[in-house]
């Protein structure tokens, strides 16, 4: 145990914040991520992370908390994407790629302006790759608040969401407002992206959203089990990442240690690869990340 935790870990203030924010973000992201993967909306998830990049860097420039920027931009982006019906567009990869390119360019501008006008350092690394150790404890209430609301919404729409993900037509026939459920889900997705952005940076946030979810879906037999396993995987990866990052300050005497996000992403990636080992795979092949919802099997309705 002494080897795992370098001195001062448990008493360090920043570590407390990191562990709390990290855990909550990972939890929510994993939950939302399971639905995202099941509904085949990974594309939307990716797109929102780019939007979050712009939001975070813009917020920073205009002196708002980046968390607000991530969340706000995400929500606006989700709304816009839903309005335009972007996922069903022919040539959507190109169109969204170009529009998001503009958004990313804008992010570059904000980051540059922030570095020169406000003379803040390390903005890029903070927004893009996260710096969970430098988070203020004042972010915790907002993070926890948003998480509770998001999980609440998910709990509320759980059954309609499930049914409309598997078969929108059947759901509609049963009187479910498929459109409304879809929009609500997109909003939870936006919040999840925002939270994972604050934890590991907007550019890497997809890992926390998709990774544990995809891994869980590979090793479990049904959705309910995945919804339990995914958050566990996410939180474990996050906590372990925090520990390793803290320790890494002591490994390399000269530098500032390796980024937390690097550890978290690597752990998630390794976790997914390991889940591919034949012994662990409970379900037969299922290209989950891009599968249309209808292909998902074994979902209890």
């Amino acid at each position: 145990m002494r080897y795992l935790f370098e001195p001062g870990f448990f008493s360090s203030g920043p570590v407390h914040v990191a562990v709390t924010v990290g855990a909550v973000s990972a939890l929510v992201s994993a939950f939302v991520g399971v639905f995202t993967v099941m509904r085949g909306q990974s594309f939307a998830g990716h797109a929102l992370t780019d939007v979050a990049t712009t939001g975070g860097s813009g917020a920073f420039f205009f002196n708002f908390s980046p968390l607000l920027g991530f969340l706000g931009a995400g929500v606006l982006g989700a709304g816009a994407m839903d309005l335009v019906g972007v996922e069903r567009l022919r040539g959507r990869d190109i169109a969204t790629g170009v529009v998001l390119g503009f958004a990313t360019g804008l992010a570059a501008l904000f980051l540059y302006l922030d570095a020169t006008k406000n003379a803040t350092t390390g903005v890029s690394q903070q927004i893009l790759f996260g710096s969970i150790f430098t988070l203020n404890s004042s972010t915790i209430p907002l993070v926890v608040g948003m998480s509770v609301i998001t999980l609440g919404v998910l709990a509320l729409i759980y059954r309609p969401l499930l049914l409309s993900s598997i078969s929108p037509d059947l759901a509609g026939a049963r009187g479910i407002r498929v459109r409304l459920v879809g929009v609500l889900f997109m909003l939870t997705l936006a919040v999840a992206v925002g939270l994972s952005s604050i934890a590991i940076g907007s550019v890497l946030s997809t890992a926390l959203l998709i990774g544990p979810a995809a891994t869980a879906l590979r090793v479990t037999k049904n959705l309910r089990a995945a919804l339990v396993v995914a958050p566990i995987l996410g939180v474990v990866a996050t906590w372990l990442g925090v520990v390793l990052a803290y320790d890494s300050f002591y490994w390399f005497p000269s530098s500032q240690g390796l980024p937390v996000s690097f550890f978290i992403v690597t752990l998630i990636f390794l976790g997914y690869l390991v889940s591919g080992l034949p012994a662990l795979r409970r379900r037969t092949s299922s290209p989950v990340a891009t599968a249309p919802a209808r292909e998902f099997k074994g979902v209890p309705v």
């Binding site: 190109i94 170009v98 390119g101 503009f102 990313t104 570059a108 550019v203």
Partner: protein, 282 residues
């Protein structure tokens, strides 16, 4: 802005635009959006690694781009991409961030590798860039027709004895070369727009493939020149202008296409009307 140190920037920028226009033409036609994201991410990690180890960044860029390209080729042979590819994409970026964190210039290096820099390529790199560019252009030129057929109708191409899988690998390698020379100038996160925007716009202006490719190069040049000029004057990042101008051209292209289609249907309707009148009169 035409001082000696900028001349390099104009030269390299132009070469980059030409190559991006030509290679991007096929990226768009083959819908290789995924490869166009994955290879730059690998390039970023490679450049960061080179930065850390102290070798020529082009080498790092090249090696990792190539590895990413070949990785995609093998993955796609196993069937449609799944979560592993999305995670691998992100893993590359995280790796790059880790490499950069060990160097002293963490922040500026992140910025210039992700968003580009006017003088991203130094004078010493001019010849390697020209060589890479030449390889890309010659490869596409020689393989133009096979690439065209395999991109549009791979089954027909296979029946003719062309080998779509082989061409895909060759194309990915070309894309890796194009990425290697473009990332220093435009940045890993924005190279996508330069490779996609101008060609996607160009094909809105012409129905003919060679013309569309030429326009793709032209629009790419205009984009880069505009971006370099504005970046020089305002000191704002090149990537911001590249992203904005690419998007603008794309929008202009689509509006033009929509307008042309409206014209076409109006003419068709008036043609039908004329025909009906003739029949009615007869």
């Amino acid at each position: 802005m035409f001082t000696s140190f900028m001349v390099n920037a104009w030269l390299i920028g132009s070469i980059v635009a030409v190559v991006a226009g030509i290679v991007g033409f096929f990226v768009v036609m083959r819908s290789s959006a995924f490869a166009a994201h994955a290879i730059p991410n690998g390039a970023f990690a490679g450049a960061a690694g080179a930065n850390l180890v102290g070798i020529n960044p082009l080498v790092g860029l090249g090696v990792f781009s190539l590895a990413a390209a070949l990785g995609i080729a093998t993955l796609s042979r196993r069937g449609r991409a799944d979560a592993v590819t999305a995670l691998a994409l992100v893993m590359m970026l995280a790796l790059g961030a880790a490499f950069l964190s060990q160097s002293t210039e963490y922040e500026p290096a992140i910025f210039s590798l992700l968003f580009g820099e006017i003088l991203g390529v130094s004078t010493g790199q001019l010849w390697p860039v020209i060589a890479l560019g030449a390889v890309c252009v010659v490869a596409v030129g020689v393989l133009y027709r096979p690439l065209l057929l395999t991109s549009i109708a791979p089954e027909i191409a296979a029946a003719r004895g062309l080998r779509p899988e082989r061409l895909e690998i060759i194309f990915l390698v070309v894309l890796a070369c194009a990425t290697t020379m473009t990332v220093p100038v435009v940045g890993a996160l924005l190279i996508f727009t330069l490779m996609i925007g101008p060609p996607a716009a160009a094909r809105c202006f012409s129905d003919r493939a060679p013309v569309a490719m030429g326009l793709s190069v032209l629009i790419g040049l205009l984009t880069i020149w505009g971006a370099l000029a504005c970046a020089y004057v305002t000191n704002w990042p090149v990537g911001f202008y590249v992203g904005s101008y690419s998007a603008a051209w794309f929008v202009i292209g689509r509006l033009f296409r929509a307008w042309r289609r409206a014209q076409g249907s109006r003419r068709a309707r008036s043609g039908d009307l004329a025909r009906e009148n003739v029949l009615a009169g007869a």
